[in-house]
C-alpha cells in the first residue's frame, strides 16, 4: 500500500485489448484519477472512450482542456494532442511536435504528472511497438513514484515494456492479468 494520488498508463500497439482487461479488473471504488495515453491512430477519441467504457469499472471520458482532473474516472488523451497536467491539477493540451513519433506522447504525460504528483504517482507501461514511455517512467521513479511494467513476455508487442525496463527499471514487472489486482491493492485504503 502507498499513498497513491493518481495513476498514469501508457500503451500503443495492442493497447486496446490490454486496456480492456486492465480497466475491467479495477475496483469501482478507486478514488484516484487514471490518465491514459494510448497511441490509437483513430481520428477521434470518442470511439475509444465508448469501447472502453463498456468494459471499464470506472467511467471513461476524454481529458478536457482546462478542466480539473477527476478522481474515480479514466481520462484519455485526445488524438493529435499532447496531454499534460498543470500544477493546479487541470488538463492542458498542446500541438507541440511529435515526441517519439507520437502525439499524444506517453513521455510528455508522464513527465508532467511526475512533476505534479511526485511520489504519489503510479506509472504503468503496457504493450507497444515504440520506446515512448521509457523516459517518462524514469522520471516517475526519479520523483519517487511507483513503476509498473507489463512483463514483455506477456505483452502482445514487447518493445515498449522492454524499453521501459531498460531505461527506468520497475517496482513491479508482472503479467497483464496481475496488474488490476495490484493497482487495487496499491490504491485502496
Amino acid at each position: 500500500m502507498m499513498n497513491a494520488a493518481a495513476i498514469v498508463v501508457g500503451c500503443s500497439t495492442g493497447g486496446l485489448d490490454a486496456l480492456k482487461l486492465l480497466l475491467g479488473g479495477l475496483d469501482r471504488r478507486l478514488p484516484q484519477p487514471l490518465l491514459v495515453c494510448c497511441h490509437t491512430g483513430s481520428e477521434t477519441i470518442e470511439l475509444l472512450c465508448e469501447l472502453l467504457g463498456r468494459v471499464s469499472a470506472l467511467p471513461v471520458i476524454a481529458a478536457a482542456e482546462r478542466h480539473a482532473v477527476r478522481g474515480g474516472h479514466v481520462q484519455l488523451a485526445p488524438t493529435g494532442y499532447h496531454l499534460l497536467v498543470e500544477p493546479d491539477r487541470r488538463f492542458a493540451l498542446t500541438t507541440d511536435p511529435r515526441v517519439n513519433h507520437s502525439r499524444p506522447s506517453i513521455d510528455v504525460l508522464f513527465a508532467s504528472a511526475a512533476t505534479v504528483w511526485r511520489e504519489a504517482l503510479i506509472g504503468v507501461v503496457l504493450t507497444g511497438a515504440s520506446a515512448d514511455g521509457a523516459e517518462g517512467l524514469r522520471l516517475v521513479r526519479r520523483a519517487g513514484g511507483c513503476a509498473i511494467v507489463q512483463s514483455p513476455a506477456d505483452a502482445q508487442i514487447p518493445v515498449m515494456p522492454q524499453a521501459a525496463l531498460d531505461r527506468a527499471g520497475a517496482d513491479y514487472c508482472v503479467p497483464l492479468n496481475d496488474i488490476p489486482p495490484l493497482l487495487n491493492r496499491l490504491c485502496l485504503p
Binding site: A64, E65, R66, H67, P78, G80, Y81, H82, L84, V85, E86, P87, A92, L93, T94, T95, D96, P97, V108, A111, S112, T115, R118, R142, A143, G144
Partner: protein, 286 residues
Amino acid sequence: MEPLGDELAREGIELELFIQAMHRRHGYDFSQYAPASLRRRVRQLAERFGCDSISALTGRALHEPKLLPQLLEGLSVPVSDMFRDPAVFRALREKVLPLLASYPQINIWQAGCAHGEEVYSLAILLEEEGLYERSRIFATDLSANALRQAEEGIYPLREAKQWSRNYQAAGGTRSLVDYYNARYDLLKLDDQLRRNITFAQHNLASDRVFCEAHLVLCRNVLIYFSNPLQDHCLALFRDSLVRGGFLCLGMCESIDFADSAGDFAAADASLRIYRLAANGAAMAAP
C-alpha cells in the same frame, strides 16, 4: 543527486527569472502562458542552445539581443497542417462562407498562423467559393521567423499526401496538386494564393485590435495560455469582430472558464465555431 523536489523548486525559480528577462529586456511577456508546457519548451530551448540550465539560457537572452527571433521561435510552436481537422474547413466552406458572402468586403484575421498552412487553406476555400477577390486575410503571429516562412509558402513534399487527403475531406472541388509545384523534396504553393494575404507580427498578449473582421480563426493558440490570457484574447476577438461575425477555435479548446465566452454563441459547438452574439443575446446557429 539533488532531491527532485529541490531540483523542481530551483528550476521553477530559474523559469521565473527567464520569463522576467524576456519581459524586461525584450518586451515579451510569457508570464500568462500555461506553465507545464512552457517549462517543457524552455527546457528544450536551453538544450538546443547548449545551455546546461535555464539560468544559462537567461544569461544569453540578456547578453545577446540578436538571439531574440530564435528564442521566440523556440517558445512559440509553429506546428501546423493544411486543412487540419477537415470537418472544420468543410463547415467553414459550407456554413460560414455563404453567410460572409453577403458582405461586399470580407475581412478575415488568422491569429497564430505559424508557417501559414491554415492561411493558405483559407485562401483556397475562398478561391473555390468565388469570394477571394473581395477578401482580405490578415495572418499574424508572434514569431517573425515563422512569419517569414509563412510568406514563402514552401513546405516538405512529404506532407502532400496527408494534406491532399485533408483537402478532399474538407470538400475540395479540385485537386491540391493544382495549387503547388513540387521540386526535389519541397512543395511551393502558388504565389497567386498570397495576393490577398497580409502577414504581420502581432502579439496576442500585448497588441490591440487592428481590423474589423468577419471571421477570426485562432486554432490551437489559446491552448498555450492560462485562463486570464485566454479570456483577454477572447475579448480582443470580440472587439475585432463585426456583429454576427464568426470565431473558430481549435477542436479541443475549452472556453468554459472564460468570462468573455458569454459574448459568443456556439454555431457548431463540436467544431468550436462560435458567433458573436448581437448585443449579448444568443444567436441561432447558421
